[in-house]
Amino acid sequence: MVLRTRELVIIDDDDEDILVLQESLANTGLDFHLTIIHKGCEAVRYFEQLSHNSLEPNPDLIILDLQLPDLNGIDLLRTIRNDPALIRIPIIAYTGLDDGKHIASCYKAGINCCIKKPTTIQDATNLANSINDFWFKTLRLPSDYQQSHSTHNGTSEQNVGLLPKTMPRGVVN
């Protein structure tokens, strides 16, 4: 698979959960740059900006907490999947709910996969290893076929109101 810095976005309001997952991902050896979005309204703005800026490359993967207090995750998913500029972005959603109907709705709305939100460090480690091994070493991703956009090394964190400014321009089909 393609070896380059991966652009990840986590949409979650829990700083501790984000930190645990971020550290777990770093421990896998994955070279990634992380954009963190805490609020539903920031997520909506992020996707609007990504949609309107055709020169900005899409991230490799978005990890979305479906239970943000100010966001209807299913509605956001539908919006993304109805937008030609965003339709291909891989999105893993995590949820604390074990409701079969809710999970089925996520898949119908266009989630790539739904996972249980990690609640322990061991869970987060397992998830991070799986994301690295399966998502980045086994799959072909849409972003593998777009111009690499990041020269950023290691891990970092960025609160988003605007698109990350560290990204050099790339091409989105």
């Binding site: 089925a104 996520c106 898949y107 996969c113 399966f134 086994t138 072909r140």
Partner: protein, 145 residues
């Protein structure tokens, strides 16, 4: 994950790939029921429970090749995503193609992930085991009552 078997439909016309997949999944930690159809028309008949698949269980996940007789994988995916009853079934594309057009188009059509079959038996088995681990141990699959 519930204790009932996970139903997987493999849409694949290459007998060797089917055999290798069955072999790799035989060591799965979960109880799997793998059904195989050989072309896209059979796949749609299976999914819609049309004869001779009247009693076919709804798959929890589909492994879909792209280059298939009668109806190709893209057509199957497109028909599934336009059908409200089938839209939510996760589809993993497992194909020899690594062409940009195939990757981008199938994600656009709603593929959940895309894997290019590796060359070599050992690598192929490793990929299937990787699917097994991620999709059946980490992921929450949709279950319909």
């Amino acid at each position: 994950m519930s204790s009932k078997s996970i139903h997987v439909l493999m849409v694949e016309d290459d007998a060797e790939d089917v055999m290798l997949t069955k072999e790799a999944l035989s060591s799965s930690k979960v109880s799997l029921d793998l059904q195989v159809v050989e072309d896209g028309a059979q796949a749609m008949a299976y999914l819609r429970q049309e004869p001779p698949y009247d009693n076919a269980p709804r798959p929890d996940m589909i492994l879909l090749d792209l280059n298939l007789p009668k109806k190709n994988g893209r057509e199957v995916l497109n028909e599934m995503r336009e059908d409200t009853n089938l839209r939510g079934i996760p589809v993993i594309i497992l194909t020899t193609s690594d062409q940009q057009e195939d990757v981008l188009k199938t994600y656009e059509l709603g593929a959940n992930c895309y894997i290019t079959k590796p060359v070599g038996l050992e690598q192929f088995s490793k990929v299937v085991s990787s699917i097994d681990h991620f999709w059946f141990s980490i992921v929450k699959l949709p279950h319909y009552e």
